[in-house]
Symmetry: C2
Subunit: 210 residues, 2 copies
DNA sequence: ATACTTCTGTAACTATTGTTACTGCGTAGG
DNA sequence: CCTACGCAGTAACAATAGTTACAGAAGTAT
């Protein structure tokens, strides 16, 4: 565990901070599909992702959902940080996209470390920065792109974070992430297949040339 | 100027920090419609808004645009902060919605003050937090709401920040902010008038009961 | 093998939004 | 006063996305 942490965060955090993290943090290993956070949940800790991918989703009252972005190793959830300062309720849902290892740090330490460690301050600022830009791209794609373009972007990004040209999802699951409907996604995927950009199979699809 | 600054920020910043801001900051007074920042601009300073309202817009390559949110007095632009840490290029466009007073602080001071003043750290974190949530609501409205609902939300928010039930804009201007077209907005506004929620006039409209 | 479930393909239809085109009103400037 | 321009109203149409319904293919369980 310490080795994993050091491998991922050793370059940006000083020895002393790493030791503190090890002392107060709780190590967590979760399987693919594990729900790490639900909207409205009370937030007790802040996750530092060591390996794997977490997907962050936004839901509305009617059960509609939308993929915001993926967290990858070395990332943390800015939403969580944001929540620590506000009413401490989560605004988002977090699901393990792959098996993942992470360390949960109690939120009380955040404030303390922010004063004490410059590297921690930079890390937190940088996370905010990255997340803000990530949210902006998500917004761009919803506001300015049509569904076919969004779908292509989604498949590419998914392949990238999973390092796999095969997307192991049903059309329904993709539809949920893009806040669309299964029929629409099937229709567009079929078009992409006809253009020989992907190859469709049952329960998965293979990216050929997007 | 010092009075204005103290009135707005005196409660959250200690005396010493206020003095520093006065020393290194440059006071700026801009008229309604003034363009404070353009996409791709190099960012030299960070604005602290003292009075007035600034609207923050996102553009894409094709000239399409979309209102992200309003900055009000006591706010700063998190995007700017985010940019200070990244490639220093603006991702957004900022236009004065009303006449506005602000102080520009050189970005070099940010880092210094973050180490030195706890109140500054809190201010910066809090700004990020507020902006992140603001972006999330914007995203919600685009992803989950239909145009009629978005239009109502837009009119309400605009009336709120301007403290005026009369919206002094043409349908075309509203259409730009919502990334829609003039005809669509005219259509929907007419419906709202028929429902007696607003009253339409040339170049402006009055909110009755939204 | 049979029955059952899940996933995908497709057609027909609806809803929403965007586009084009044309009208007339109101105001500003000559 | 008259003209020109910007703004708003409206109709007709197009494009995109979402919905309903159903059929068949591919797995899974009995």
């Amino acid at each position: 565990m310490i080795q994993d942490l050091k491998a991922e965060y050793g370059k940006i955090f000083e020895e002393e901070l790493i030791n503190e993290i090890v002392q107060v943090g709780t190590f967590k290993e979760v399987p693919e599909g594990y729900k790490l956070m639900e909207i409205g949940d009370f937030i007790r800790g802040m996750p530092l992702l060591i390996s794997g991918v977490i997907k962050i989703l936004r839901d509305d009252e009617d059960g509609d959902e939308l993929l915001l972005y993926y967290l990858e190793k070395g990332n943390t959830c800015s939403m969580t940080m944001a929540c620590c300062m506000g009413d401490a309720k989560s605004e988002i849902r977090a699901i393990a996209e792959t098996d993942a290892k992470l360390i949960m740090v109690p939120i009380q330490k955040m404030e303390e470390w922010t004063t004490k460690y410059k590297s921690w301050r930079n890390f937190v600022f940088n996370s905010y920065h990255v997340r803000l830009n990530e949210l902006l791209s998500t917004l761009d794609s919803i506001a300015f792109q049509k569904m076919d373009e969004r779908l292509i972007g989604y498949l590419k990004e998914k392949a990238r974070v999973n390092q796999d040209d095969i997307i192991h999802n049903t059309h329904q699951e993709i539809a949920y992430d893009l806040h669309s409907s299964r029929v629409v996604i099937s229709r567009l995927l079929k078009k992409l297949e006809q253009m020989e950009k992907i190859k469709l199979h049952r329960n998965y699809l293979k990216i050929l040339d997007l």
